[in-house]
C-alpha cells in the first residue's frame, strides 16, 4: 500500500507558492530522506503531510486519505529545540503525551496502561533507565530518542521527523540513527525525514527527495546522488565521489553525504 502519494502538489505560504510541482509516491515501510538547502521547503512539505498546514493545491494522500483524515496513522517528531523545556516534565511524561490525546479532554492522571506502554517504548529506544529524569536534563541524543518514543505511543504507520539530527554530536547522531534503523527493521513504519545532514541517514534511506522550492529529484539514492543533480542545488563545488562501494556526496556545505551500494 502507498503510504504517501502526491500529484501536482503546490504548497502556499502567505498566498505565495513555497514548494511547487511535487509528485512522488512512498510505499508502506519505506524511508524517504528530504534533502535541500535552508528555505527549500522541506519542513513545509513535512508539516503539510502532518496536517499542520493546509494551504495547498494538487493531490496529497496519506494511506489513501487526506492528511487531516489520516492523523491517527501519523507520528510527528518536531525539532527538539522547538520545545519549551522550562516545563518540568519527566521523560516518561513526555512519552505518555503521545498516547492520551485520542481520548477525552481532561487528563488529570495518566492511565496505568499508558504508563506501562510509555515504559515499554522507552525501553524500545534504549532509555528504560531514564524514565523519571527530567526531559530538560537529558542529552541531545536522549531527547531525540524520547521524542521518537512519544511518536511510537500511538503505533503510527508513518513517522514524520523534522531534522532529527540537527545540533547533535556524531555519537548522538549514531544513537538516533541506530534507533531509526531499529524502528524500520522491527516496526515496518514508513518514515519521512528532513535533514541537512544526509550522511548518517543514507543507510536507512530507500528514497531521496531533493527540494529547492520545487522538486529537483526523487528516486533511489543511486538515482538522486549524481553530480549534475547535486550541483544544480548546491552549486558547482558540490560533487558526488565514489569510494570503494560507497558514494560520498560533497556539497557546498560542510556536510559529507555517503551512500553504500550505489554501484558507482
Amino acid at each position: 500500500m502507498e503510504a504517501i502519494t502526491a500529484e501536482g502538489l503546490t504548497i502556499f505560504y502567505d498566498g505565495k507558492p513555497a514548494v511547487e510541482g511535487v509528485d512522488f509516491t512512498l510505499e508502506d515501510g519505506e524511508t524517504l530522506l528530504l534533502l535541500g538547502p535552508n528555505g527549500a521547503g522541506k519542513t513545509t512539505l513535512l508539516k503539510t503531510i502532518a496536517c499542520f498546514h493546509r494551504d495547498y493545491t494538487g493531490r496529497l494522500g496519506v494511506f489513501g486519505r487526506a492528511p487531516c483524515e489520516a492523523k491517527k496513522f501519523i507520528g510527528y517528531v518536531p525539532q527538539s529545540h522547538s520545545l519549551n523545556e522550562r516545563v518540568p516534565l519527566t521523560a516518561l511524561e513526555v512519552v505518555a503525551m503521545g498516547g492520551i490525546y485520542r481520548r477525552g479532554f481532561i487528563h488529570f492522571k495518566l492511565p496505568p496502561e499508558t504508563v506501562e506502554k510509555a515504559k515499554e517504548v522507552l525501553g524500545f529506544v534504549g532509555l528504560g533507565d531514564v524514565s523519571e529524569r527530567l526531559f530538560s536534563a537529558l542529552s541531545g541524543g536522549q531527547k531525540q530518542r524520547v521524542l521518537l518514543a512519544r511518536a511510537l505511543m500511538s503505533d503510527p504507520k508513518l513517522l514524520l521527523l523534522d531534522e532529527p539530527l540537527s545540533a547533535l554530536d556524531p555519537s548522538a547522531r549514531a544513537e538516533v540513527v541506530s534507533v531509526l534503523a531499529k524502528i524500520k527493521r522491527e516496526r515496518r513504519v514508513a518514515m519521512v525525514i528532513t535533514t541537512h545532514d544526509i550522511n548518517p541517514l543514507l543507510e536507512i534511506g530507500d528514497k531521496i527527495m531533493l527540494l529547492n522550492k520545487r522538486l529537483i529529484a526523487f528516486g533511489s539514492p543511486g538515482e538522486v546522488l549524481q553530480d549534475q543533480i547535486i550541483k544544480s542545488v548546491y552549486g558547482p563545488l558540490a560533487r558526488v565521489v565514489p569510494v570503494e562501494d560507497k558514494l560520498f556526496c560533497i556539497t557546498g556545505d560542510v556536510h559529507l553525504h555517503r551512500h553504500g551500494g550505489g554501484g558507482r
Binding site: 516545563v87 503525551m97 492520551i100 536534563a137
Partner: protein
C-alpha cells in the same frame, strides 16, 4: 478579639493565594505575561462599563459580571485573531490598544452618568478596583469569591497536566489528537475569570505582579512540578497573609505591600544568581 472584617480579609487572601499560586507557574511556563497584562486591563474597561450599567439600572452587582463578560469577549477576540494567523503578541497588542482606548472613553461616559445621579459613591469603587481593598470585602463578596474560586480551582487542577503539555509542545499535542487551541482558549478564559473574581481584592495595578511573580520565583528555585506548585502556593499565601496583617497594623493598602515583598524576593533571587 479579631475584627470580623479582618477574618474576611484573611479568608479572601487564602482563596486568592490558592488560585494565583496554582495558575502562576502555568502563566510563566506558557509565556502569558503579556496576555495577562491585556486581560487584566480589559477588566478595568469591563468594571467601568459595569459601573455605568450599574448606575443606569441601579444595580451595582453588575460590575463583576460585566467585567467577566468583557474579559471573556477580549479572550475570544485574541483567540480569533490568532486563528486568523496573527502571532499571540500581535493579537494581544491589537486588542490591548482598543481596550485601553475604550477604557479612557468609558471613563468619560461614567463621569457624565455619575453627574446625573444625586449621590455617587462610585469614585471609591473605581479606586478600589485599581488598588484593591481587601478590608472592604463583604460577606456576599466572600461567598462569591469562595464559590467561584473553588470552581476555578478544580477546573485548573483537573486540566493542569494538559496545560503543562500545552506549554511544552502545542504542535505535538495537536499532532497526537489534542485540540491545542481549545486548551489555550480554556486557559485564557480561566486566567481572565480568575482576574475578574479577585480584582477587587488584589487591585488592578498589582494584579499582574501577583499573578506572575510567584510562579517565576518558584520556577527559579525548583525543577520539580510538585515543588514548584508548593513554592508558588506557599509564597503567595505567605505574602498575602503577611501583607494583610501589615496593612492592618500600618494602614497601608495590602496589595502594595504584597507587590513590594514579591519584588524584593524576586530581586534577591536574581541578585544571588
Amino acid at each position: 478579639m479579631i475584627p470580623e472584617y479582618l477574618i474576611r480579609a484573611i479568608l479572601a487572601s487564602v482563596m486568592v493565594s490558592v488560585l494565583l499560586g496554582m495558575l502562576s507557574p502555568v502563566i510563566n511556563m506558557k509565556g502569558l505575561a503579556f496576555l495577562t497584562h491585556a486581560l487584566f486591563h480589559s477588566l478595568l474597561f469591563g468594571a467601568v462599563l459595569g459601573m455605568i450599567l450599574g448606575l443606569l439600572f441601579e444595580n451595582l452587582s453588575l460590575v463583576m459580571l460585566v467585567a467577566l463578560i468583557v474579559t471573556i469577549i477580549v479572550v475570544l477576540t485574541i483567540a480569533g485573531l490568532e486563528k486568523l494567523g496573527f502571532s499571540p503578541d500581535s493579537a494581544v497588542g491589537i486588542v490591548a490598544s482598543f481596550v485601553a482606548g475604550l477604557t479612557v472613553l468609558s471613563f468619560g461616559v461614567l463621569y457624565k452618568v455619575m453627574a446625573t445621579r444625586p449621590y455617587f459613591p462610585l469614585s471609591e469603587s473605581i479606586v478600589s478596583y485599581l488598588t484593591g481593598d481587601i478590608f472592604l470585602i463583604t460577606l456576599d463578596d466572600l461567598n462569591v469569591l469562595v464559590t467561584g474560586g473553588a470552581l476555578l480551582f478544580f477546573v485548573v487542577l483537573f486540566l493542569y497536566r494538559d496545560f503543562l503539555y500545552l506549554s511544552f509542545d502545542p504542535e505535538g499535542m495537536e499532532s497526537y489528537g489534542g485540540n491545542a487551541r481549545a486548551y489555550l482558549m480554556t486557559l485564557y478564559v480561566l486566567v481572565g475569570a480568575t482576574g475578574a473574581l479577585i480584582v477587587q481584592t488584589v487591585g488592578l495595578i498589582t494584579l499582574q505582579v501577583v499573578a506572575v511573580l510567584p510562579g517565576a520565583i518558584a520556577l527559579m528555585v525548583s525543577e520539580d512540578i510538585r515543588e514548584i506548585l508548593a513554592v508558588s502556593l506557599f509564597l503567595t499565601l505567605a505574602v498575602q497573609l503577611s501583607s494583610v496583617v501589615l496593612a492592618y497594623i500600618t494602614d497601608i493598602p495590602p496589595s502594595g505591600i504584597a507587590t513590594i515583598m514579591l519584588g524584593a524576593i524576586y530581586g534577591a533571587l536574581l541578585f544571588r544568581r
